[in-house]
């Protein structure tokens, strides 16, 4: 009878010792003079986006540390799982961690909103490579506004939405449009701007709208496709992420749909073509993102060598955001306040040769840009900027 309890105590003791040991080992490591953090989905359903993004950050950092052997900058990975809920767990700690002087991120809009109160209280500057929800930089919407500490490189959805709508109906005589979103915060938001643009455009008939399962726990889109066919649509605009978009377009084409398929930056990912195969051919895409490969073969090859995989989505924006921070650190801004001032005042050169400076609300000054793309021959080809 004693034996049982002794065993139990023993087991608990072993577990505790193991935890202590593991955590001691886990906390060991090189220490850096300063840290920047990347915040995005590193686990969970959207982790692919996060992994692609952090590769861009790591590349910029590796280049910097290579050039500055004496002032090494460390990277802390803040995993918010791409959700506001995840962000509200990790943001308080990130805010309190004084060694972090700036953040690349948050990657997603919902996670950004959940993080803002903590970073504002801690005066922690952020540059997001991919959060495009309009209200993040709109001081009128208090609940979502991230200023003055929040900055972002991509254009907002209110710019992308109309661009996407116009791109989709370009050159079609009597467009009948059906819009679909994936129930994500991003998809619903973008879809709203697409729809309002369509309604305001004369000659466009809106056949209807539907949503598909965002959690991707079912891949049967037949009902939505039936609706598209019932409405005789010749343009389908999809607002959402690429994984579902790929499955969706595949079934749409398999069902015999011959019209236009257009989608936004959520679908702007090589994975879209890998997953959708030939069904992706002809798809029109928009993104306020640039293609890393366009920066040249040399740097692309170097990236692949350093990181171990080719640059993916938002690699350019992450690279730029990281470089802005490193630039500031290089100029002697080594506190949160100093970096905040530096970001707001400075003007930086982006990878694609563009100039980046931020306005008072955190958007890139100037009009920003939306690139349009088309899928041909199994690759995403740029068709230039949409004016």
């Amino acid at each position: 009878m004693k034996l049982t309890s002794k065993k139990a105590i023993g087991a608990i003791a072993v577990v505790i010792v193991a935890i202590v040991a593991v955590s001691l080992v886990a906390t060991k490591g090189t220490s850096y003079s300063y840290y920047i953090a990347y915040q995005g989905p590193l686990t969970g359903d959207n982790k692919q986006t996060g992994l692609d993004e952090i590769a861009g950050v790591k590349y910029a950092l590796a280049k910097y540390n290579e050039a500055h052997p004496k002032a090494q900058i460390g990277l802390k990975q803040v995993d918010d799982q791409g959700s506001g809920t995840g962000a509200s767990v990790v943001a308080p700690g990130t805010a309190k961690d004084k060694s972090i002087i700036a953040i690349v991120g948050p990657a997603f809009s919902g996670a950004s909103i959940a993080s803002f109160p903590y970073y504002r209280a801690a005066a922690l500057p952020m540059i997001s490579p991919s959060a495009t929800k309009v209200t993040l930089t709109d001081p009128a919407v208090k609940s979502d506004f991230g200023g003055p500490y929040f900055h972002r490189i991509p254009s907002k959805d209110d710019k992308q939405g109309p661009s996407l709508a116009h791109l989709a109906i370009k050159g079609i005589k009597s467009p009948v449009v059906y819009s679909v979103n994936d129930q994500s915060s991003y998809g619903v938001g973008l879809d709203g701007f697409v729809q309002s643009t369509l309604k305001a455009t004369p000659g466009v008939k809106v056949a209807g709208d539907d949503t598909v399962d965002g959690a991707n726990t079912t891949l049967d889109f037949s009902a939505t496709i039936s609706k598209i066919k019932a409405g005789n649509a010749n343009v389908v605009i999809y607002s959402g992420y690429y994984a579902q978009a790929a499955g969706f377009v595949k079934q749409l084409r398999n069902a015999g749909y011959k019209g236009v398929f257009a989608s936004g930056d959520g679908t702007y990912d090589p994975g879209f073509i890998t997953d959708a195969g030939t069904a992706a051919e002809g798809a029109l895409l928009t993104a306020s993102s640039a293609v890393f490969q366009d920066a040249g073969a040399t740097i692309t090859a170097d990236f692949t060598k350093v990181i171990g995989s080719a640059p993916g989505t938002y690699a350019v924006e992450d690279y730029d955001a990281t470089n802005i921070l490193l630039n500031c650190i290089d100029q002697g801004s080594t506190t949160r306040d100093a970096i905040q001032t530096c970001i707001n005042k400075g003007s930086f050169k982006g990878l694609m040769g563009n100039t980046i400076s931020f306005d008072a609300n955190g958007d890139v000054a100037g009009t920003g840009f939306i690139n349009s793309f088309v899928v041909t021959g199994g690759a995403i080809k740029s068709t230039g900027q949409i004016k």
Partner: protein
């Protein structure tokens, strides 16, 4: 509503395809329920594993690239047969593994009903999370083996070859299973155990073996369903089983869980209902439709359409 009327036959056809996929999965629930009087919670993940088996066989084993050329003739038939048998086998074996790890020990311990239920939930989490870690949580596309050519348009419904295949082969598999259970020795053993375990034991039937085989058969059917699913939808993901599993379970309950014929009617009815409902209400309410059907059936006709009492009093 407009869609429902104008696309009625198209919806009916795709609903039937979906329905037959449910039929085969719900056999996995119904067979196990028959012998154990327990829900095999992990059946949805057995399905998910089956879809990945199909992907692995076509992509890695046979080396068909995602966007490769279309297959024809003997190669096509060989590939499809191999995928079908492979995913059936993998699902069947995983089902036996689930029985071994999640149910057997607890059955011999004779603990309360809660324990095997929780351990089966645990197994289903282990399966889906392992796959999630292996695939980095991504959707995985399945190379197109069978080209989706349209055969005919009947009453405005586009009849595609892959969907037609499901509508023809799934019932054949179903009826073979029914024959197997009704007419073979093994099938009779299963029926004996499901009627009365004690008596079956007295008759010299090896209960553990019969239960194990029941899981295997349930798994085989679920695996076949996974193959059909892949043939039609050509993609999978670690969490694909969740909603489909609940839907198939609902189908089993709708027809009367434990009743093989019930699974057929229930699966088909649910597939149609779900497709009609998402055409009328919007696809986002599809999952809710299934849950509401489940709750309503359990409340008003807990024995399902074909009986087998759910709330048997065991006095």
């Amino acid at each position: 509503m407009h869609t429902l009327i104008s696309q009625f036959w198209q919806l009916t056809f795709s609903g039937a395809v979906q329905g037959f996929i449910y039929v085969l999965i719900s056999l996995g629930y119904t067979m196990v329920y028959g012998v154990l009087r327990m829900i095999n919670f992990a059946n949805s993940e057995i399905f998910m594993v089956g879809t990945f088996a199909t992907v692995v066989i076509t992509r890695d084993l046979l080396g068909h690239p995602a966007n490769g050329p279309d297959l024809h003739g003997a190669t096509l038939i060989f590939t499809m047969l191999l995928c079908l048998l492979g995913s059936m086998l993998v699902s069947g074996l995983v089902a036996m593994l689930v029985e071994l790890l999640a149910y057997r020990r607890l059955r011999s311990l004779g603990t309360n009903r809660l324990a095997p239920l929780i351990s089966a939930i645990g197994m289903s989490i282990i399966l889906s999370e392992s796959v999630s870690l292996l695939t980095e949580g991504r959707a995985v596309p399945d190379p197109e083996v069978l080209h989706k050519s349209s055969l005919a348009t009947i009453l405005g419904a586009n009849i595609r070859i892959d969907q037609l295949l499901v509508v023809i082969v799934a019932p054949i598999m179903f009826f073979s299973l029914q024959r197997f259970v009704n007419h073979t020795r093994l099938g009779k053993g299963i029926r004996a155990v499901s009627m009365n375990e004690e008596t079956a034991k007295l008759m010299g039937i090896n209960i553990n073996r019969v239960i194990s085989i029941t899981f295997l058969i349930g798994g085989l059917m679920t695996g076949a369903s996974a193959f059909f699913f892949e043939t039609v939808y050509e993609a999978t993901k670690f969490n694909i089983g969740f909603n489909i599993g609940i839907a198939a379970f609902t189908a089993a309950v709708l027809g009367g869980i434990g009743n093989i014929r019930g699974a057929f009617v229930g699966g088909l009815a649910l597939g149609l209902l779900e497709t009609y409902a998402s055409a009328v209400l919007g696809s986002q309410w599809k999952a809710i439709t299934v849950f509401i059907v489940l709750i309503v059936v359990l409340l008003f006709r807990p024995n399902g359409l074909f009986g087998e009492a759910v709330q048997q009093t065991r006095v």
